[in-house]
Amino acid sequence: MPRRLIERCQPDSIREFRAAARERFEDGLWLAAAGRRTGAIYLWGYAAEMTLKAAYFALRGVADTAVLTWNGHIQPAINRGRAAPLNIAWPSQGAGHNVRAWAELLTAERSLATATAYTAPFGRDVQRSGQRIGRLWREILRYHKNVAYSHEVQQVRDAAEWLLTHSDAL
C-alpha cells in the first residue's frame, strides 16, 4: 500500500525548505491566476519564510540535510536575533513566522564579518523584501475570509520572487 502524503514528507531541512519554497511559490502563481488572491499571498509568505530560514541556517553552517527543529534551531536563532549585538525587533506572537525579522536577522548576521556582509544595496533589498511581506502576510491569514487587493498581491509576489530568485546569493 502506498504511503500517505504526510508519511512521505521529509523532515524539515535546508534542502527541503528550498525545494518547498519553489513549489509553494509556483502554487501561489496558479492561485493568483485563478483570482484566489489571499490564498496566493498565503503561500508566497511561506515561500519567503522558508527561503530566508534556509539561507540563515546555511550561513550558520548547518548541513543541507540536517534536521531543523524548533528547540535546536528556530528558537535559538530567534534568541540570538533579539540579543545584542543584532538587536532585531522580534515580537513574541508568531515569532517563528516573522518574515521581516528573519530577513533582518540574516542581513545583520552577515554584517558581523566583512567576508560575509552583503553590499549595502543588496542588504537593503533583503530587508525591504522582508518588510513588504511582513506588512501584508501573517500565518493567521488562513483563518480569515478577507480578499486581498490586486496591489497587495503584486507587492507580496514581487518580494517573494525577489528572495527566491536571489536565494543563491542570500
Binding site: R82, A89, E104, L112, A113, T114, A117, G123, Q127, Q131
Partner: protein
C-alpha cells in the same frame, strides 16, 4: 516588440523626504534626552546597525522608515556613512516595547507635598521622550538600558530639585528572567 527594464527602487516619497530631513537635523544636533532615540551598534566588520525609536514613524511603512533613516545619514554625514549601515530599523515606542527592546520605564510617583505638579511631571516626561501612543494619559517613558533610565532621572532631578523620591525606575520582566528563575528552581 518593446523591451523595458524595470527597476526596483522607488523615488523617495514626500513622507520619506520630510522624515529624513527631520532626522538629519537630530543627527547633526544630538540632544541628551527626548525622541528620537538613536542607537548605533558597530559590528566587528565596521558595518553599523541603526535603530531609531520615534513615535513620528507611526503612520509610515517599515520600508519608508528604513529609507528615511538611510537618507538622513546621507544628508547629515554623507554617502560613506550611509553605506556603512548594514541594517536600519525605525520603531515607535509601543512597537519597541512589544519587541521587549525598552524594558526600563520611568514612573512619576507623585505625593502631596512634592515640589512639582502632575502637569509639570507630565510635560517634563514628554520632553524626555515619553510616548503618548499607547494612551495620551498614561505616558510611557522607556529606555533599553538601566544607565539610560538613570541618566534621564538625573536630568529630571536637576530640573526639579528635591524630587529624588518621585522618579521610579521599573524594569519589565523578560523571558530571560523567567528562564533564569526556572533554572534556579531546578538547582534547588
Amino acid at each position: 516588440m518593446p523591451r523595458k527594464r524595470m527597476g526596483t527602487e522607488r523615488p523617495p516619497s514626500r513622507t520619506v523626504t520630510d522624515l529624513a530631513e527631520r532626522l538629519a537635523g537630530e543627527l547633526r544636533n544630538s540632544r541628551e534626552g527626548g525622541q528620537p532615540l538613536i542607537y548605533e551598534t558597530e559590528y566587528p566588520s565596521g558595518r553599523i546597525r541603526v535603530i531609531v525609536i520615534w513615535d513620528t514613524w507611526d503612520a509610515a511603512a517599515p520600508e519608508d522608515r528604513t529609507s528615511a533613516i538611510l537618507r538622513a545619514y546621507d544628508l547629515a554625514e554623507g554617502r560613506e556613512s550611509r553605506d556603512k549601515i548594514a541594517l536600519a530599523s525605525g520603531l515607535t515606542v509601543p512597537e519597541a516595547c512589544a519587541a521587549g527592546m525598552l524594558p526600563y520605564q520611568i514612573l512619576a510617583a507623585l505625593r502631596k507635598g512634592d515640589p512639582l505638579t502632575r502637569e509639570q511631571a507630565h510635560q517634563a516626561m514628554l520632553e524626555e521622550g515619553a510616548s503618548t501612543l499607547m494612551s495620551p494619559d498614561a505616558l510611557q517613558l522607556r529606555f533599553p538600558a538601566e544607565e539610560d533610565a538613570k541618566a534621564c532621572v538625573r536630568r529630571l532631578i536637576q530640573r526639579f530639585p528635591g524630587t529624588e523620591d518621585v522618579w521610579l525606575i521599573n524594569r519589565d520582566a523578560t523571558a530571560q528572567d523567567f528562564a533564569a528563575a526556572r533554572d534556579e528552581a531546578g538547582e534547588l
